[in-house]
């Protein structure tokens, strides 16, 4: 293992301490493993929480901020957050108007959030949840509920956060989150693994000359593995898997996220984005506020993902509404 760290078991807690020390006006700890807005819950605003394993910065905790999330339960690297931290996150986000739990569709995360919601739900605290399941390779279209959540989560955070900041009710914020989660489709490719600190093991094995097409963010298997292809061929193949699920027509609007899984540089992301923009222009589809960069990573994994989110007028407006966290400003 070649990583800059102290004790592997301290990886998450030391990361959290540094994050809060670097951005004290944005973040505070509201528990051992709970990150919340520095200023606390916003009275009268619907709270939005998320949670999940560490190792994906800026996902999940980084998106706590204005027009985004209110609190995040933080798990060990690639492991779900504890029930007690989910409970604390809900409490830290509760401004009196209800709390939405918005998180990725993973078994452990789902169990822990459901248990926390059952524990806290009452007549005075209304809670809802929406799970993001955008990775098209992780299950077929007719089993969408089994798909895993990847970079599309960033769009869902943005949309739900904007609706809450605009004064939406819990039902309205939940509906906006669900609309964004339903709209997103993602696919990833991987060239080299990352190492989970406490196990010291690579998240998967792959030859130097190979790419795995469709691989998930923790090394979940993709569609094929073989010699690396040119960027345009890979991009076309990704679009061929995403576009059929979206039924885009000429004149439609869409947002695009070309995301690095950690080690892949911006240069390569822009090479991919160039091809995506050309393909969408050819179809007469208008791109709104494309995102290119490190939005949802797997530590030092080499690879990238492509997320498409078709927009209606509401999603377009919410996407472009102001937002601010240390990792992203709109």
């Amino acid at each position: 293992m070649k990583k800059i760290l102290n004790a592997p078991s301290a990886y998450v807690d030391e990361m959290l301490a540094g994050l809060c020390a670097a951005y004290p006006s944005s973040y505070r700890l509201a528990g051992d493993r709970v990150l919340a807005r520095a200023g606390g819950a916003v009275p009268g605003k619907v709270g939005i929480i998320t949670g999940g394993g560490s190792g994906h910065l800026p996902v999940f905790l980084g998106y706590v901020g204005d027009g985004l999330l209110d609190a995040c339960a933080v798990g060990n690297v690639f492991a779900g957050p504890r029930v007690a931290d989910c409970v604390s996150a809900i409490q830290a986000a509760n401004g009196g108007a209800g709390v939405l739990a918005l998180y990725g569709n993973y078994g452990g995360d789902r169990m822990n959030f459901e248990m926390a919601l059952e524990e806290l739900e009452s007549d005075t605290l209304k809670l809802t949840s929406v799970r993001v399941a955008d990775d098209v390779v992780s299950a077929p279209a007719d089993e969408r509920a089994r798909r895993r959540g990847v970079a599309g989560m960033v769009f869902a955070f943005k949309i739900a956060g904007a609706r809450a900041a605009a004064g939406g009710s819990l039902d309205e914020v939940t509906a906006a989150a669900r609309k964004a989660a339903d709209a997103c489709r993602s696919i990833g490719v991987a060239l080299a693994p990352c190492t989970v600190p406490e196990s010291g093991l690579a998240s998967f094995e792959i030859a130097d000359t190979e790419i795995e097409f469709g691989m998930g963010i923790h090394g979940e298997p993709g569609i094929w593995r073989g010699p690396l292809k040119p960027a345009d061929a890979l991009t076309d193949e990704m679009l061929d898997l995403l576009l059929p699920e979206l039924n885009l027509a000429k004149g439609d609007s869409i947002s695009v996220l070309v995301n690095s899984l950690g080690a892949t540089p911006h240069e390569e992301l822009f090479i991919v984005y160039r091809r995506v923009a050309e393909a969408l222009a050819q179809r007469g589809v208008r791109v709104v506020m494309p995102l290119v960069g490190r939005y949802a990573t797997s530590m030092e994994m080499t690879g990238m993902s492509l997320t498409l989110m078709p927009l209606d007028a509401e999603l377009e407006r919410l996407l472009q509404a102001p937002a601010n966290c240390p990792f992203w400003k709109v």
Binding site: F78, A79, G80, D85, G108, S199, P221
Partner: protein, 197 residues
């Protein structure tokens, strides 16, 4: 069983989890995130610590052990383990027994509850299949069979029976073809637990 012997059993369980950690990490690395051993090692450390302060009642010990596992990790196996221990604690609090007649009933009740929580069905090749196998083996055992022996044999034969089948849930389901011929890490963990009895 009294409180002292239950605490001793948990101490042996914790030692067994430490010992099995690297085996379970390696098994889990083939189908999951490679952290099952890490998770159980954290659970073991927390359980050991809580035993020194846990109340001297069977349900009190089970509740404390459950909380210790829930505090150790949010990974799905840790959450289900915590859930199972809590189910056992509540079973005793309800005045029910832990003898060879009641034990299969408790195990089937736990399988049902954990299935509802985690979403796995029997036959999906998870630890639920091991618990179910233990319940069935105890029901079929004769009165003079040692229950720990019965449980050990049941988890070993469940592991063997499911080896040739694919995993049908969780991350491992995505490796369905590859998972044929591989032991499910959760089922191996349950077997190591019964071996510590």
């Amino acid at each position: 069983m009294d409180a002292a012997s239950l605490k001793n059993a948990f101490m042996r369980w914790a030692d067994a989890m430490d010992k099995a950690a690297s085996e379970l990490n390696a098994l889990d690395a083939q189908l999951g995130d490679g952290d099952l051993g890490i998770t159980l090692k954290k659970c073991a450390a927390n359980v050991r610590a809580t035993l020194t302060v846990a109340p001297d009642s069977l349900p009190g010990i089970l509740r404390a052990a459950s909380q210790a596992c829930a505090d150790a990790s949010g990974s799905s196996f840790g959450t289900l383990l915590a859930g199972g221990l809590l189910i056992a604690g509540k079973w005793l609090e309800a005045g029910k027994a832990l003898d060879r007649v009641a034990l299969p009933e408790l195990l089937r009740h736990a399988v049902q509850k954990l299935s509802a929580r985690g979403g796995a069905q029997l036959g999906d090749k998870t630890m639920l299949d091991s618990l179910q196998a233990i319940a069935q083996a105890i029901e079929e055992a004769s009165a003079h069979d040692d229950l720990a022996d019965v449980a050990r044999a049941a988890t070993a034969s469940a592991l063997k029976e499911f080896r040739s089948q694919p995993n049908r849930i969780g991350r491992a389901r995505m490796f369905a073809q590859k998972s044929i011929g591989l032991d499910d890490p959760g089922m191996v963990a349950v077997m190591r637990m019964t071996q510590s009895l």
